[in-house]
Symmetry: C2
Subunit: 201 residues, 2 copies
DNA sequence: GTCTATACTAAGATAGAC
DNA sequence: GTCTATCTTAGTATAGAC
């Protein structure tokens, strides 16, 4: 996630000129709008409105729509790192994985409305000619790698396959929860996955 | 899947005027192009070209792009019914489900390139204002219902949950196979699912 | 029933005033 | 650094010739 737009004269704080962190607001708004409306249906005007930034001002921060999408991927990556850091505080890998699943279940209403925020993005970016789908894949890989570590810590020698299966189960049930508009699908699959985690020890 | 465009004077055969079954060709081409390029990036011109039908002629058969999408959903439904009919010829539910999984694995290169033909469509239709996502959900339900019957025939009282889990596993691994451009993910998850089927009996 | 030309609309992007 | 006005492109859809 390069940051070529920023002057970076004052590290760790936004440039004095960027009052109110408009760049950050635009990136966060982009992530939200791309999830809710999809990549192709979301216009720069939609994102500007959601970020409370005048439409014509967007191009000062991002030269193209692609750059805004890249910033949205970066926002997802940050959220992912925060989630992982929070899970790391739990003592055992089983607890960490089950808390992960619990988080998915608690977010089920969002899945009902729009599917998985990051999975739908990966799916849509694949249809675009730009290389943003590769950037998104890198972020997805961070998550798989972390899950693999958890299964490894549980002593499984098929940890990679299990990590892929866990993420696939979540992506798939997110799609079905969204397609059928039924939050219970996520609840029941979450229960099943937690029992599965317990059975692996 | 209404057919209001057709005169239906000669049931079970296309109207004499529709030489070469252009309507059917357009529906099949639409299904293919929507999968490969996504709903929003696919233009009517793309579909017309893929179907070998002159661009301006499309509107004679379909009044709007939405009607073409609906016809594509219908084409998917037909393919689904054909697949189910073929699986029904196998003697046991275990064999039917494992052959289903085998079919998914054999189609892995398509998943690498574009994801699941129908799952990506459901995901994209959700972002549109029209009600086509509900039509797609009906088709998806046909598949779940059939899977549920198989698990029920195996004597499982949690057949619905298992059917949902199986379809979710496929949708999820299709997304990951596509995101990571790695057909092996589908192969390994297919193996895992077949072992899972065996373990349920 | 088939096809061409074109009207209409909307979105991405840019120039330049403030 | 902020914002308005506008250019350009592209896609859906329609009118009407053949």
């Amino acid at each position: 996630m390069t940051n070529s737009q920023r002057t970076d004269r004052a590290p760790a704080t936004p440039p004095a000129t960027a009052r109110g962190g408009k760049r950050e607001r635009l990136a966060a708004a982009a992530a939200r709008m791309l999830h809710e409306q999809g990549v192709e249906k979301t216009t720069l005007a939609d994102i500007a409105r959601a970020a409370n930034v005048p439409v014509g001002n967007v191009y000062y921060y991002f030269k193209t729509k692609d750059e805004l999408i890249e910033a949205a991927i970066g926002a997802h990556a940050e959220g992912l790192h925060a989630m992982i850091a929070s899970l790391e505080e739990l003592p055992t890998p089983q607890e960490r994985l089950k808390e992960l699943i619990g988080g998915w279940v608690r977010q089920r209403d969002l899945a009902v409305q729009f599917g998985c925020p990051f999975g739908t993005l990966c799916s849509e970016l694949d249809k675009r000619a730009d290389g943003l789908d590769r950037t998104a894949a890198e972020v997805m890989r961070i998550f798989i790698d972390w899950s693999e570590q958890q299964f490894q810590a549980m002593g499984r020698d098929d940890s990679r396959d299990l990590a892929v299966a866990l993420l696939a189960a979540y992506q798939g049930i997110s799609l079905l929860t969204n397609t059928f508009r039924d939050p219970e699908l996520m609840v029941r699959e979450g229960d099943r996955l937690e029992r599965w985690i317990d059975s692996l020890a």
